[in-house]
Every structure is written in C-alpha cells, then in structure tokens.
Symmetry: C2
Subunit: 265 residues, 2 copies
C-alpha cells in the first residue's frame, strides 16, 4: 500500500486538482484508491460530486468522535473511495490543541479500520497545522505540487524543515518523493527558469539520510488547461469531463510516472 | 485619505499583485500612496525590491515593539512608501493571542504616527486571523480580488461575516467597496459564468445597512498575463517591467476606476 500526502502550504497551487485527478487516473488503471479529503474547504470531495451535508458523517467525526472510517468513506467510482471532508473540520485545529498525540489521530484511526487499498492519497489544506501534520505522520511519501512562478521556492524551507522534524520525531519512513509542476505555462521563460531552479535545488542535496535526498521534479508537467478548472463544477474528474483535453493527457502521464516509481520501490 | 485593505482568505488569487500594481499606478498618477505589507511572506515588499533583512525593522517591530512607523517605512518610488514585512511576523498570531485590543494595534500605531497619504493600501495574508483583523479595523474599504473559478464564491460567506462582525463591534465605517477579478482567462465560459454568478450575488443584497450593500465587481478585469508573474522576480512593478503589456494596461484601468470611485465618495 503506497501512501501519499499532497502538500504545499501555499494556496491555489494545484493540490486538490492533483489529488483528485491522480486518484481518478490510478483508479482507472485498475488500482484500488482511497482518497482522504483533509481540507475543511472540502474541495476534493466537491470535485468528485460528494456534497458535505449537515448530519452526514465526515472526516471530522473520524478525527474528533472516533467515527468508523469504513462507515464514513464512500465508494464514488469503480476502484475509488473517498473519505469526505466538511467545513466543521475548520474547528479541528482549536479542538485538538490540547489533545495528547493530536498529530497521529488519523494514523490511529486508519490502523483501527479495515482500510485496504493499493494507493492512499491525502489532499491537504494550505497550511502546516495539525491537519497537515496528521497527513505527514500517516504517509510514507509526500508529493509537492508547485506553480512554476517566482517565489515558488520561497516557502519551501519551512515545508522541508517540517518534514524533517516529523521524520525524526514521529515517522521515520517519511520521504519527499516528488515535486509536480502545476499550471505550467508552456513556452514562457518564467516556467522554464523556475523549473531549472527547483531541479538544481534538489540535485544539490548532499545528505543521503535527508528525507528529500531522493526528491526530484516529476518529468510530467501539468499544463495550464481551463478544462481542469471547469471539471469540478460538474463534480467530475478530468477524465469524465474532458477525456481528450491536455489536462486529461497530463494527469494520465503523471499517473503512469507514479505507477512506474511504485514498481521500483 | 482613502484606506483600502486587499483581502481574500484564499491563497494565490492575486492580492499581492493587485496591492503592488494598483499602488504603483496610483503613485504614477500623482497620488501619495502608502502600502502596508501585512503578510509574513513579505511578497509585496519583495515585489518592489525591498528585501527583508535581519536586524532591519519591519512591520513586525511596529506591531510588537511599538517601533515608529515613520522610521520603518521606506520611500521606494516617487509618491510610493512601503511599510515592509518580515517572516518574523508569522509569530505575531501567537504572540498577540493574549493581548488586549490585539485587533486594533495597527490602527493605533498609525494614529500615533505622522502618516499622511492620499491612499493607504494594505496587502493581507491568506487568512482571517489577527493580521487581517488589524487591517479590517484600520481601513474604510475592502477590495476583494477573486479568481473567476468554480468555488470562488465558496469561501465568501466566511469573509462577509467577518466584515460584518468587525463592522458592528470595532469599525462602523467598514465597507466592502469592490471586487476585482484577477487571472481572468478571457474567452472562457468558466470566467464568464463565475463573473455573472458573483455579479448577481451582490445585486441581490437587500439590506441597505449591510457593509456590502454597495459592493460590486469592478468593471476592470485583470487578464492572465505572464508579465505580471515575471515582474516580481525583478523587484519591479508591471509599469517598470512591461509598461506596454496587457497586465500594465489592466492595472492602469483599475487605478482609473478606483480614482473615479474616489471622486464620488
Ligand atoms: N493546470 C491547471 N490549469 C487550469 N486551472 C487549474 C489547473 N490546476 C488547477 N487549476 C484551478 O486553479 C484553482 C486552484 O487549484 P487547486 O484548488 O487544485 O489548488 P489548491 O492548491 O488545492 O488550493 P488550496 O490551497 O486552496 O487548497 C482551481 O480553481 C483549479 O480548478
Ligand atoms: N493576472 C495574472 N496573470 C498571471 N499571473 C498572475 C496574475 N496575477 C497574479 N499572478 C501570479 O500568480 C501568483 C499568485 O498571485 P499573488 O501572489 O498576487 O496572489 P496572492 O493572493 O497574494 O497569494 P497569497 O495568498 O499567497 O498571498 C503569483 O506568482 C503572481 O505573480
Ligand atoms: Mg485544495
Ligand atoms: Mg499575497
């Protein structure tokens, strides 16, 4: 079972779009996929047509009330199960503030469940708070979506030091396994230059024990494509909404690359 | 003196790009402009070539140590003064947690200073925490940049209720005066549809005492233009970096519209 958290504390860089469409592509390829929506905004849930309802259980109840993951999760497509979110989760940061082991609740709830899958993906909110920490203690891998703009590297050191601390104190298996460039404006010098800067940043890592010693940008770049922004309003993945679009092609390529990396693990 | 906070708790929607280029355009038109960078990421400061240095005072010292605004602010261009930020400000949320009147410190520091300007603009971080609250108690107007994508309206009610509470408890002058669509992908149905949804949302406001009773989308839409993403890496406004670009044209139009609204206030 490969477990991958989709993380970047910057907002609007393509985390949810990647979590949803990579999940959908992996599911279409025949893998059992479990997608956890860990963002109170619940965009990943909405993207797949799961609408948070009052009174209907969500990941909030799993984390705060020990609700059963197997009862809360919903099979939304063949091979694709979603653990949906809800705005109530916004209160989790405060409600969990005093709780012992507040960063490992998700990991414990998963261990207590009958969750089986080839791939577990976690869509995280744009922050490094208790929700993202729960993802970091749950998974083996972090996938980092980045917009290839100036200052894309600016927040990176904070994320890397968080991965480092979690790796040392709570989860020795944790690795930054890949970086995926999203909203890539092809044929612009800016995208090419920022991509090169990020590549050389990760090439220069010299400590083989570092959690990002093997991190590198994925070969697949997700090009800017309006279809990717339209699909969520229909509650569909890009493969349902516009299967012949560049967005669909790119996320299919990304899934191929992820699967191949899985062969070598 | 018009005071405008640039606010949206969503990340990456164009707050900083708007704060910087609108300030630059107003300054070029001959207005005295004071730009306050209230984001610990300090992107607005970096965008204008102000690089946060260790030991150099920033807005952090103004808010936490009663440093003098007049000594910390830097005149960076003709008619344009910046109160720069610094990553230290990230600690402000915690450090101010217990402090009485923590939401009005900026307002008090400005009152204690000799700040004079035709326009005060405040670039806010992507959150509704104590920093953004300080902006909301300081200004008369809120300008809301939005990306015309699905779910753009999704976070809006939270922002509006925050404006409502601050207006009732701390700042009766506070108004949402405008919405500006950023990163507008022209000729896409998505942008046109979301724009219409937002327009009708604000047309249907029926309580004339509401802080958004007079809010409406600006006629000017800021089109997606790679030059706007390139300019910050040179520490320049769009007018210095690419004065004939669509980005420059659009922000000049926005400034015209803002100035005209000023005539009628
Ligand atoms: N390659 C792309 N081309 C065009 N639009 C895109 C692309 N990727 C994402 N988008 C759109 O950009 C917006 C932000 O993307 P997304 O929601 O995936 O980012 P995010 O990092 O999850 O944001 P948040 O930090 O708010 O959770 C969305 O409206 C999405 O539909
Ligand atoms: N109209 C545009 N066309 C192209 N790129 C743009 C445009 N507006 C902003 N950008 C780029 O998009 C990215 C996000 O914009 P910006 O930093 O202004 O958003 P923000 O709301 O201030 O983000 P944050 O929430 O992180 O403070 C930046 O790299 C910026 O240069
Ligand atoms: Mg998201
Ligand atoms: Mg900003």
């Amino acid at each position: 079972m490969r477990t991958i958290a989709i993380i970047n504390q910057k907002g609007g860089v393509g985390k949810t779009t990647t979590a949803v469409n990579l999940s959908a592509a992996l599911a279409e390829s025949g893998k059992q996929v479990f997608l956890i929506d860990l963002d109170p905004q619940a965009h990943a849930s909405l993207h797949l047509g799961v609408i948070p309802q009052e009174g209907e259980p969500s990941i909030y109840d799993v984390l705060l009330d020990e609700a059963d993951i197997d009862e809360v999760a919903q099979e939304v497509r063949p091979n694709l199960t979603v653990l949906p979110s809800h705005l109530d989760l916004a209160a989790a940061e405060l409600e969990l503030a005093g709780e012992v082991g507040r960063e490992v609740i998700l990991r414990d709830r998963i261990a207590a469940s009958e969750l089986t899958a080839d791939y577990v993906l976690i869509d995280c909110p744009p922050s490094l708070g208790v929700l993202t920490l729960n993802a970091l203690t749950t998974v083996n891998e972090v996938l980092l979506p980045m917009q290839p703009h100036f200052l894309a590297l600016h927040g990176l050191s904070k994320l890397l030091s968080t991965i480092d601390v979690v790796g040392r104190r709570l989860n020795p298996q944790l690795q930054l396994s890949g970086i995926v460039f999203c909203m890539y404006d092809r044929a612009t010098r800016l995208a090419a230059e920022v991509t090169r800067d990020v590549e050389s940043f990760f090439e220069q890592v010299d400590d083989p024990t570092s959690p990002w010693a093997h991190a590198a940008p994925m070969a697949t770049k997700i090009r800017r494509n309006i279809r990717l922004a339209e699909a969520p309003s229909f509650g569909q993945s890009i493969f349902e909404y516009a299967p012949y679009s560049n967005g669909a092609a790119d996320y299919r390529c990304l899934a191929e690359e992820v699967l191949e990396a899985g062969e070598q693990r």
